[in-house]
């Protein structure tokens, strides 16, 4: 057990996987310089430039080459630098990686990881702050992981690397420097198993990624004893745990950083309502960002950020 930052936990997990399996390698911009969040620090020195590949600014090819390399039996870790830049590689991710196994009738598989650090961080403004997680959950073929703690950063990265499915790993930019306890030799986590972060009958609160510490804090502050679930992966997601809890509490709140409209919160709400029937519920609410781009100025950005205060108020509202 050690106290590590999110970035260091992820770095260590990748190093361990690369030691375990010589077919694991990583490609992306500036990787030999350690990556922009230090999450590749020292890896080029240990594994050499053939396994820690610094690439040109060629997102389409970073993504597409990752696919080609997976089809030939290696396990690439594709680094997108930040999630927004994956928009330059959407064909490769959505029409190629996600579909290749299916289209080819199972002949080939895209066993690879796409890392996409996402979300608001340090006043980076509209083109560097997006959370497009809901998009990815909509795409058949993709597994979508969204850890919110250092331990899960390590466990999910390991699971992603070992997965035979393509996994998009959304890493919350705002949490890279957050510290937490991480097991030595972390084991891969299963997809689709939420982490129960608090327990109580007042409401069911669901969240993931950068909102995890925010919601944990809010749950403590709210004065309402509630079930809090950190989903950890969005596809598959832990429907059983959430539906079971909502059946008991009758009150469901989903909190995410992404825009509320057509965010993954809509899926969680719709699924729970379908599964239990609306009659089984007393109150349902989504808390996400307004449908506006992320602005630069701190005073404007603040209006888009999820805060413990906003979440605590919502918990009290739905616990009614």
């Amino acid at each position: 057990m050690a106290r590590l930052t999110f970035a260091e936990a992820a770095r260590r997990a990748l190093a361990e996987e690369m030691r375990r399996d010589p077919l694991v390698w990583a490609l992306g911009e500036d990787l030999q310089q350690g990556g922009i969040f230090g999450q590749y620090k020292g890896l080029a020195e240990e594994f050499g430039p053939e396994r820690i590949v610094s690439t040109p600014i060629s997102e389409s090819t970073i993504m597409g080459a990752g696919l080609g390399a997976a089809l030939c039996g290696t396990r690439p870790v594709i680094e997108m630098r930040i999630a927004d830049f994956a928009l330059c590689a959407m064909d490769e991710l959505v029409s190629q990686i996600a579909k290749v196994r299916y289209m080819f009738g199972g002949q080939g598989r895209a066993s690879l990881v796409v890392r996409m650090p996402q979300g608001i961080w340090r006043n980076s403004a509209a083109q560097h702050s997006q959370c497009l997680e809901a998009w990815l959950t909509h795409i058949p073929g993709l597994v979508v992981a969204a850890p919110g703690t250092p331990a899960d950063a390590a466990g999910m990265l390991k699971a992603a690397i070992r997965s035979d499915d393509p996994v998009v790993l959304l890493e919350p930019k705002n949490l890279w420097t957050t510290e937490g306890e991480v097991e030595d030799g972390t084991e891969p986590l299963p997809f689709g198993v939420a982490r129960p972060a608090a327990r109580g009958d007042g409401a069911t609160v669901v969240t993931w990624s950068a909102c995890v510490p925010v919601v944990e804090q809010a749950a403590r502050d709210s004065g309402v004893a509630c079930d809090v679930f950190d989903l950890r992966s969005l596809w598959p997601w832990d429907e059983a745990a959430v539906i079971g809890s909502a059946r008991r509490t009758g009150r469901l709140l989903v909190v995410h950083e992404a825009v509320t409209v057509s965010g993954f919160g809509a899926e969680v709400v719709a699924r729970v309502v379908e599964a239990l029937g609306p009659g089984a519920l007393h109150a349902v609410e989504r808390l996400g960002a307004p449908r506006a781009p992320v602005p630069f100025s701190p005073v404007l950005e603040a209006a888009m950020r999820m805060t413990p205060e906003r979440v605590a108020a919502a918990i009290r509202r739905i616990a009614g």
Partner: protein, 324 residues
């Protein structure tokens, strides 16, 4: 250097492959037109020499990536033509179990990593395949086919730079049939063309008459030898002509009929046939036709895939449930 009889055998082999591709596509187009084969077929009739001349220089362990117009590449690489025909008919036993159709034919067993419905998308994939080959210390190269239309898409540039930068074992083959869908290539492409663009990114390039299979074979042999010799990626710009429309049902009214007629006169198959024994040629062509006619009949007789297959091979974690 191959001796005379080896050389003849090679030519006969190439003729057979070209004849088989043509026969396959004649049947495929007929099946599409009659509605027996669903969806759309993009025939490469008239362009067979490119696929065959290149693939004659590949081993089974080598990989190829292909395009929406990929039947020829697949057959030339040794893909199972019967499975391909079943695939075009959407039947069980097709190369992709009926899930892919003409635009997604793949045959991983022979290194055919897949046709692609997105223009240019095979280029990054080929680069990555070559990187994996290097990482695994495999003795193999990748041939990457694409059309003249693909050279105007971003991934073309990215892939050329990438392959040159990492000195990857890739043979890029630009199959320049004069058209991108309904638009003449020259009306949407500026500058010196595919080879010049490749060279600008550091990939040495050659231009060849893509309707002369011996020329393609010779140049490809040279380029493939360089790649196997560790010289990094090479580029082949093969000039040819698309005899048919963009798809099996496009009448290609946007071009003069004489132009297509002239291309038919330059028929790559006849050109090679003229150098071979006429009786042997006739036998090969007849055999190719009867093979593909039989495949088409087999396809029509084959069962449809089980509807439950709709939901298989999506993914392991979070796979969709079958609900009828």
């Amino acid at each position: 250097m191959p001796g005379t009889s080896d050389e003849t055998a090679r030519r006969v082999g190439m003729l057979r492959d070209m004849a088989r591709i043509r026969a396959f596509e004649r049947e495929a187009v007929a099946a599409m037109r009659s509605g027996e084969a669903p969806g759309v077929v993009h025939p490469s009739i008239g362009q067979e020499a490119v696929a065959v001349g290149v693939c004659a220089n590949l081993h089974r362990a080598d990989r190829i990536t292909s395009t929406h117009r990929g039947h020829g590449h697949a057959i030339a690489k040794g893909a199972d033509a019967r499975a391909m025909m079943l695939e075009l008919h959407g039947r069980a036993g097709g190369s992709c179990g009926g899930k892919g159709g003409s635009m997604h034919i793949a045959d991983f067993a022979v290194g055919m990593l897949g046709a692609n419905g997105v223009v240019g998308a095979g280029i990054p994939i080929a680069c990555g395949a070559a990187q994996a080959i290097r990482l695994k210390r495999e003795d193999a190269i990748v041939a990457c086919f694409f059309g003249d239309g693909a050279i105007n898409r971003g991934p073309f540039l990215e892939g050329m730079n990438w392959a040159a930068l990492y000195r990857l074992p890739v043979l890029f083959v630009c199959e320049d049939n004069g058209f991108a869908a309904f638009t003449r290539g020259s009306t949407v492409t500026a500058g010196g063309g595919p080879a010049v663009r490749a060279e600008a990114c550091g990939v040495p390039a050659m231009v060849v008459d893509g309707e002369d299979v011996l020329a393609v074979d010779a140049v490809a042999a040279d380029l493939v030898a360089r790649i196997r010799g560790g010289e990094g990626p090479q580029f082949l710009h093969a000039r040819c002509y698309r005899w048919e429309g963009h798809t099996g049902t496009d009448a290609a009214a946007y071009r003069p009929a004489e132009e297509a007629a002239a291309a038919r006169d330059r028929d790559c198959i006849r050109r090679l046939a003229a150098m071979l024994d006429a009786e042997e040629v006739a036998a090969i062509e007849a055999e190719a036709t009867s093979e593909m006619v039989a495949h088409r009949a087999a396809a029509m007789a084959a069962p449809w895939p089980d509807a439950a297959a709709t939901f298989s091979d999506v993914q392991d974690a979070g796979a969709p449930a079958w609900h009828a």
